[in-house]
Amino acid sequence: MNILEMTAVELAAAIKNKEVTVMEATEAVLKQIEKKEDEFHCYVTVDRQGALARAEEVQKKIDQGELSGPLAGVPVAIKDNMCTEGMLTTCSSRILGNFVPTFSSEAVLNLQNAGAVILGKTNMDEFAMGSTTETSAFGVTRNPWNSEHVPGGSSGGSAAAVAAQECFYALGSDTGGSIRQPASFCGVVGLKPTYGRVSRYGLIAYGSSLDQIGPLCKDVTDCAAIMEVIASHDKKDSTSVEQQDTDFTTALVEDVKGMRIGIPRDYFGEGLDPEVKSAVLKAAEVLKEKGALVEEFDLSLVEYAIPAYYTIAAAEASSNLERFDGIKYGYRTEEYEGLHNMYKKSRSEGFGAEVKRRIMLGSFVLSSGYYDAYYLKALRVKALIKKAFDQAFEKYDVILGPVAPTTAPKLGESLSDPIKMYLGDIYTISVNLAGLPGLSVPCGLDQKGLPIGMQLIGDCFQEKKLIQTAYTYEKARGAFVRKEEQNV
């Protein structure tokens, strides 16, 4: 079997069985990066030397029996908003264009302790604000299924790198759909865990009450294995939770008999592409045939999630991004008069248009006189949305729907109309508001040959139900490969 075609878990097993060395796998994937980067541009930084040195070190530890986990020796890509000690971390922004962190984020440390080889840092929408990876200050990433299309965003580089076999798996972050939507657009598996599952320590904050790190990978088995490594209680993140039910791989069971699956009618109305609709409903049918109890219901409040989300996310962003002041790190303007002018000019030159748009909106909704009418109102609506989900989970184990209303749009089609772009987040965003886990699994191709994703949503800490459902579906679906498998 070609190394690059292996899943992360398959590769680790092959390394353990001495069929492949860590060095061979790392060299193979670095060669693939070299070959494909000109076309897809998944990475902001590729750490060739670091990866090769690390491959040697990890192989030694495996040989000595110090490392034996299910991901030991597997090369991984990290979204560029997670700090990596000694490795450039830019958030795809000019303002952090030269930032080299002195520490690593907890999720990255967890991976390293499990024997990961870090290949580099993946491209993203600037500060994770966007749905296409086109707001990156360092150029667009292209969808490996069709390079005229976007990979989705904001974790577009991570999703595209997995799809293009430029890594074996990747970490992304999800504030309003930023793992699930690019996973759907690139035909890979993506999971946004329950808020608090994975430490946010070292994740450069966008909307702190919504941000969560999660895996982008080739299949559900990899997803479960990665979750077991990155989910941890971390004293350095006060919103990190005491872990329970973290034996995610025990949920890799082919059985959904009696699983109660609810399909929200509100997710299948106006605006949903008919091809996406039929692929997702067909997948639901597969689960029904496997013994799941599938029925439709009304979730309600769906159209209020986007305005509530953009109010809350913009407010938190305006506060979080105050730290970029041109003093301690990052970009400082060349010429200025005094401190305040230096702040203003550094920020105005350092941030891109979408980031400025959200900072302005956030500053406005938090300003005196508007705070109650906008910000507090959005937090009240968030409580109503959470309640609607609570009621749904009294009846269902899993909520099933599309990830996004369409497949990947063409490059350059989305940014001109922000509200239209925000509408693309309609099925993913309420999951972040309610702190729930959501999983995206490929369920078909449209006529253009672009992947379609199905989203499974669970109650807080019920990732295992999502994994079990997705795993059962994946087994029934069979391999998900593009028609003309790429030449490696």
Binding site: Y310, L339, L361, V381
Partner: protein, 97 residues
């Protein structure tokens, strides 16, 4: 468009946000913010009387820990990221005369 953003509002928000927008950016920001607020006004359709604003999606307790230093002195590494550095300190513009 129901929400008309005045020049004064954009000026004021620019001060809060510490952003200096060009005249073209200001016009765009007025338009964008107006249409976003029109959209956000949709939330007004919902009766939220008596609903507590929810900051965290599920009940959590406040977390306390002792404030003890566990990391080592990394002054040099940290200062390497600073745009201006002198004698082990950050260089900032003169803040008072």
């Amino acid at each position: 468009m129901a929400n008309i953003i005045s020049d004064e509002t954009i000026e004021y928000v620019g001060i809060l946000a510490k952003l200096e927008l060009s005249p073209e950016e200001k016009e765009q920001a007025k338009k964008d913010m107006g249409s976003m607020l029109d959209y956000i006004d949709k939330l007004g359709e919902l009766d939220t009387e008596g609903v507590e604003p929810m900051s965290h999606a599920f009940p959590v307790k406040n977390v306390f820990r002792e404030d003890v230093v566990t990391n080592q002195d990394m002054r040099e590494e940290i200062l390497k990221n600073a745009p201006g550095e002198k004698d082990g300190m950050f260089v900032v513009p003169r803040t008072f005369e």
